[in-house]
Amino acid sequence: MRGAARRALHPLTPALALFGVLGAGAALAVPGTAASGPLLAVAAGCAAGFANSGST
């Protein structure tokens, strides 16, 4: 499990995943699209939470 995690997880993975969420949020950020606001809010909170964690 640990070895698999080492191979599968690059340190940039969370940041890239956040970019994906942000990109999806931006793509949905059309006036009247109900999901765009909460999606962007989750992306922003996620980036803040991850940055706040330091190394652990």
Binding site: L18, P31, L40, A48, G49, F50, S53
Partner: protein, 158 residues
Amino acid sequence: MAGVAAVLGALPQALIPPPVRAALFGVAALVVLGREIGLWRFRVPENARLVPEEVQHRAEWGALQFGFEMGTGMRTYSPSALPHLALAAVVLVVPLPVAPAVAAGFAVGRLAMPVMSNGWSDDGSWTEVWSAAERVVRPVLAFACVGALTVGTLTSWY
């Protein structure tokens, strides 16, 4: 924390015109972005204490107390100003119904680091990996956070 900020934010959001609030948030976002990408340095409010390890061994709720205190910043350090910016956004520009989404995202992001650390190894080598990637990841996180909050603000969140 986000819930309290959202309720407190109802007052300035009701009294201050949206362009003024957006401008205030914009200034804060630029200041924080500059800090995160290393243009300038300043201290951010933080408790600067660690939760004692023995807390997690207290009765059956010790682990919950440990996680709550560390996760909410009651007793922890803050290496980033992004949580403070998210809090400012909740007070100034994020509508009350959307504030829980910011909090949920924060919890997921806060959880991701220890999960990855545990999944990586149990010899502490994750810290070295993170240190090597930090110079790249921190600006990426800053642009992701500021970008998401800015797009949300400009599109009025709905």
